[in-house]
């Protein structure tokens, strides 16, 4: 746990995977904080995307390496607890970001309130549909905590607040890739031709469903709310093929995670729970500067 | 003594079919204690199949078997072996990654709680090898590192281990040197004295005449005759086998040597030969004799570009080079018939037509596209010409009997219309009738101006067919001499001892 070369502090930031835009934003945010605070950011995700065991290996290896602190977006709310305990035992403080973990040794938990994100989506969709119609929810993946919270928030709100809405399908999983979501989407649209509203809980399911809608010639005719952003989703929002995107603030998440960790290392007290907020981007508000910053953050300054 | 010995094994009305193919159609066989019983028949007559039924590798469709008076119906090979029937199969059946010791004891390992007891196993193996006069074969050597002769001996050793009452040998000498064959015959003699019965399958009738006391002839899956040996003329046995009289074993077809087609000077290959030089003329059949391991196969492979050429010059029809790949050789009009057709000679699950034309598809190809009708027609011509027994050009070769497979491989050289034929044991494993066919074919080819290099371990056929004969000894090719200057014993002498004088 000693200072590395040049006396700079080294902080490891461990995402769930490395190939999503979402994680790129977190990386950029962390780099920004690192540059401003003079600490070295080491970015390393699990070798296999979404593999719990591989993420544990990365945490273990950083303990071996003796970094000064770890920021981690845990792939599992239980499995990561033992290695994180090991880290604390070895004197390495841990900040959790994005998803929670059943373990209270952390310095702080910096994340979106995912359940609330689902609620926002339900409210947007319910309002658009005028409180009634057939709705489909395409789930993400078995056992993913953050998207399950969004799905739960959506379902609870849509059934609680809009009794006129009929959720005709909510048991299909899009799976990890855009391609698999695309196929599920095609099947859902074929099986439920009368569907009027759709919700997808993350970027890959949203994009897969969008492609299915475009291909079926129904994009823009079905009310469609998604989660997270990418260039193509932004275009779709602009063209009216998407009616809303619940946006998190991954850049801020990355930045704040590093900041609170450094605060902790320097002996300042920090908040145990930091909500980085969620809001709904629509065609109307997408040009407002703060929404635009969420939709299309300029990361190039912080990623080489 | 043969009359007095009791019957040890009795098979009656044994039938076996593979799908539409009837391999055995009611075979009777009686083997007495302490005798060597020869089983004779053409290729595809059903000899191997009968023995596989006996050893439990195939279940018979009908028929009864008795061993020492008790009904015998083995469930599998180990069951048969447990009850005293050991078998040496026609195709080598060794596991190349295992040691000699492990191969000999395979399936009958000594063990305590599943763990091997190497000491008694080693003793048993040493004992068996000693009985074969093969104590120099190291029991810890991997079989992959052994030569073909030694491998065959390992197979024999395997049959000797344990309490066998009947030992079946399916063409055991087809890959043995004369010396090793002699050793095997001595072993057979010893087994006979111990009261065992030996069933001996071979296409070499002289050999059969020497070792066997009685014989049974199979034709088309039926028993067609039998009797005591010696005392029956070879011609009679052949007539029983083939179903007709065979006028001449070596048909005389006149051919005249012409200009030199192939000249080899100082050829050295990896690993063999060490030195080989000869000239081969149009219309000439040059025979190569030698002991197993002398390097004849290696010489042909080096000539044909399948083995690396280290030194030497090869001149074919005026063009000279060192080594060249098979493709180039074929283009130069040189073709090779490999001695191991299963491993190297044929693509078994492909059709007769494809196998016969594979090396030369050009006549049917236009811009890479094949015209299959022409291909089939070409193949049919060779099927007819060589008398290949098959249902048509598109039948997979795997469904043909051994001799017919060999003919298919030969058809390829004929189709390719090569000028120089390198034939490596072309008659190995094929019956007398087919052999005569092959000899006639060789004569006709020579008469048509082809040059033939004929490698064989069967001296009579060399003497009967060749114009000149050379002997290979430990990787060196000795000077060729006209066939009439050779005798059986002279060839053997030179093969064993090198250059005479």
């Amino acid at each position: 746990g000693d200072d590395g070369a040049g006396g700079k502090r080294r902080i490891a930031v461990i995402p769930k995977g490395t190939t999503h835009e979402f994680w790129k934003s977190i990386h950029a945010g962390a780099n920004k904080a690192g540059a401003e605070l003079g600490v070295e950011i080491i970015w390393k995700g699990p070798q296999k995307e979404d593999d719990r065991d591989d993420q544990i290996k990365v945490v273990e290896d950083f303990i071996s390496r003796g970094v000064d602190g770890i920021v981690v977006a845990p792939l599992d709310d239980k499995a990561l607890a033992p290695p994180l305990s090991d880290a604390v035992r070895e004197g390495i403080p841990v900040v959790i970001c994005d998803s929670g973990v059943e373990w209270d040794g952390h310095v702080s938990f910096v994340a979106t309130d995912n359940y609330r994100g689902g609620v926002l989506a339900a409210e947007r969709l319910g309002t658009l549909l005028g409180g009634n119609g057939k709705v489909v929810m395409l789930r993400y993946q078995e056992g993913s905590a953050s998207t399950m919270a969004r799905e739960a928030g959506f379902l609870a709100t849509v059934t609680g607040k809009f009794p006129g809405i009929d959720v005709v399908s909510s048991n299909q999983y899009g799976g990890a890739t855009t391609e698999s979501s695309y196929k599920r989407g095609e099947a859902l649209l074929t099986a439920f031709p009368g569907v009027e509203g759709i919700f997808c809980p993350n970027e890959s399911t949203t994009f897969g469903m969008l492609r299915a809608l475009q291909d079926a010639g129904r994009a823009g005719k079905v009310r469609f709310v998604g989660f997270d952003s990418s260039e193509k989703l932004m275009q779709a929002l602009g063209s009216g093929e998407l009616d809303g995107l619940v946006l998190q603030n991954p850049f801020l998440m990355g930045e704040l995670s590093v900041r609170v960790l450094v605060d902790h290392l320097e002996g300042r007290s920090v908040e145990r729970r930091i909500d980085t907020g969620a809001r709904v981007a629509t065609r109307e508000n997408m040009d407002e500067p703060d929404v635009k910053a969420l939709l299309a953050p300029d990361l190039s300054a912080w990623l080489k | 003594m043969s009359g007095a010995a009791p019957v040890l094994l009795c098979m009656r009305g044994v039938k076996k079919s593979f799908g539409a193919v009837t391999a055995l159609d009611g075979v009777d066989l009686e083997v007495r204690q302490g005798e060597v019983h020869a089983l004779i028949g053409e290729n595809g007559a059903g000899k191997s199949t009968l023995m596989k039924v006996l050893s439990g590798a195939h279940a018979p469709d009908a028929g009864t078997m008795e061993l020492a008076g008790a009904p015998f119906r083995p469930r599998n090979p180990s069951d048969a072996r447990g009850r005293g029937v050991a078998m040496i199969y026609q195709e080598l059946t060794l596991a190349p990654h295992l040691t000699v010791e492990e191969n000999v004891m395979l399936g009958r390992e000594a063990a305590r709680c599943g763990f091997l007891r190497r000491r008694p196993m080693r003793a048993a193996v040493a004992e068996a090898l000693r009985a074969l006069d093969q104590a120099e074969i190291p029991p810890g050597r991997k079989v992959a590192d052994l030569g073909p002769g030694a491998r065959q001996m390992v197979e024999v050793a395997r049959a000797l281990v344990g309490e066998a009452r009947v030992i079946v040998m399916d063409e055991p000498t087809s890959s043995l040197s004369r010396q090793d064959s002699e050793r095997l015959f001595a072993v057979i003699e010893k087994l006979k004295e111990r009261g065992l019965a030996v069933i001996y399958i071979s296409h070499f009738l002289e050999e059969v005449n020497r070792v066997a006391g009685r014989f049974t002839v199979l034709r088309d899956g039926r028993t067609v005759g039998g009797g005591a040996l010696p005392g029956v003329a070879v011609a009679e046995i052949i007539e029983l086998m083939v179903g007709r009289k065979l006028e001449e074993v070596f048909p005389a077809i006149p051919h005249e040597p012409g200009e030199v087609l192939l000249r080899v000077q100082g050829l050295e290959g990896e690993p063999l030969p060490l030195a080989a030089g000869f000239e081969l003329r149009r219309g000439e059949i040059l025979g190569i004799a030698g002991l197993v391991g002398a390097g004849r196969t290696e010489m042909l492979r080096a000539l044909f570009g399948l083995n690396q050429v280290i030194a030497g010059r090869i001149t074919i029809g005026g063009a000279e080079d060192g080594g060249a790949p098979p493709r180039r050789r074929l283009a130069q009009g040189v073709g090779l018939l490999s001695e191991s057709r299963k491993e190297e000679g044929l693509a078994l699950n492909l059709s007769v037509a494809v196998n016969a034309t594979l090396s030369c598809l050009a006549p049917f190809a236009r811009l890479g596209w094949l015209r299959r009708t022409r291909q089939a027609r070409a193949a049919s011509r060779w099927i007819e010409r060589l008398g290949i027994r098959c249902r048509g050009p598109w039948q997979p070769v795997s469904e043909l009997s051994g001799g017919n497979q060999q003919k298919t491989a030969l058809a390829r050289l004929l189709h390719h219309d090569v000028d120089v034929l390198l034939l490596d044991e072309p008659t190995r494993g094929i019956d007398v009738g087919s052999k005569t066919e092959v000899y006639r074919l060789m004569g006709e080819l020579a008469a048509a101006g082809k040059a033939i290099l004929f490698v064989s371990s069967y001296v009579p056929e060399l003497l009967g067919v060749c114009d000149r004969i050379a002997v290979m000894h430990r990787g060196r090719l000795l000077k060729p001499r006209p066939a009439r200057e050779w005798s059986d014993s002279a060839i053997l002498d030179e093969a064993a001892r090198g250059a005479a004088g």
Partner: protein, 328 residues
């Protein structure tokens, strides 16, 4: 004499055809069974022209991959890297499009990169004499890593131009009925089926798969043919990658993970033998459609994912088991 020979040839041809038809009977019956079953379970949604269009489009990627894979499997090899190569091709195509290159150029670059991967596979297999399983397992990692490197570990958003139309279910001239990509797959499959059955290359592929030593002895340029075959498999993976890009309209370095197993399964269900020397393009297409219809039917009838996984696993085994029974 001539007449006799002709007759033999005619009979022979009929015999060959009968054998081939029989070999395809198993998978074809399987396909009918699956289609029939779901037609009963979900008549109105499954049995629609629109759904058939959907399934056809969904089959394109596995179908194209299976065409190249058939050659590899017939020649006695295997290619585990196609999934990664598909991803690499889609990334390369997307990169060039993002940089404003012409779509034709981008497609060409994607396909060629994939062909290069196949070429490297073939060269490693023939030069170093390493079994295809290992070489292509290595390439699986290398191509995937390279795709991620090129893409900067991200999806690449790029304008899709007419590439997106390749995989649309409402193709532009209405008389096309199905996506141009589907037509492309069918035409290529037809052509390559002929290549496999009626060219020197095809015959050599069968010969190598059946007995490599024999092929060598017959002067078949074994190494050369293998290189061509693996390169071909790479090219088809590249085409599949371009189609994947057309479908997603993004270049995704993480796409098509595990797709190689689907592709191999399609070929094997269609009568390909991993021991070499057996296989057909038509069979592989039937295999690919069988798996697509199965997945589609399961999705339509709302069967949970896990049931679908179990069923597909069982079908793979069953299809080959039926094939073995036929062989006895």
């Amino acid at each position: 004499m001539m007449a006799a020979a002709k007759q033999t040839a005619g009979e022979a041809r009929r015999g060959r055809r009968a054998r081939r038809v029989l070999a395809l009977l198993g998978p074809f019956l399987g396909l009918l069974l699956v289609v029939g079953l779901f037609s009963l379970l979900a008549p109105e949604s499954f049995l629609s022209a629109y759904n058939f269009k959907t399934v056809a489009t969904q089959t394109v990627i596995v179908g194209l991959g299976a065409v190249g894979m058939t050659f590899v499997i017939v020649s006695g090899g295997i290619d585990l890297s196609v999934g990664s190569v598909i991803a690499l091709a889609s990334v390369v195509t997307a990169l060039l499009l993002r940089d404003g290159r012409a779509p034709v150029l981008a497609v060409l670059a994607g396909v060629c990169t994939a062909g290069l991967c196949g070429l490297v596979n073939g060269l490693l297999i023939t030069r170093l004499r390493i079994v295809p399983f290992i070489v292509t397992l290595g390439m699986l990692g290398m191509a995937r890593g390279f795709a991620k490197y090129l893409a900067g570990e991200q999806k690449i958003d790029a304008p899709a131009y007419w590439l997106a139309d390749l995989m649309t279910k409402s193709p532009q001239p209405g008389w096309l009925l199905v996506a141009p990509g589907v037509w492309g797959m069918f035409l290529l499959a037809l052509f390559m089926g002929l290549v496999l059955r009626a060219t020197v290359l095809g015959t050599h592929a069968f010969a190598i798969g059946s007995n490599e030593d024999t092929a060598r002895l017959c002067g078949v340029p074994v190494a050369q043919n293998k290189v061509v075959i693996y390169a071909l498999c790479g090219l088809f993976a590249g085409l599949a990658g371009v189609m994947q890009f057309g479908r997603l309209t993004v270049g995704d370095p993480t796409t098509a993970i595990g797709k190689e197993l689907d592709i191999i399964a399609a070929v094997v269900i269609g009568g390909g033998s991993l021991a070499g020397g057996e296989g057909s393009i038509l069979g592989a297409m039937i295999g690919a459609f069988l798996m697509s219809f199965l997945a589609n039917g399961c999705n339509l009838t709302g069967v949970p994912n896990y049931v679908q996984e179990i069923i597909i696993g069982a079908i793979i085994v069953a299809a080959v088991a039926v094939d073995r029974l036929r062989h006895r």
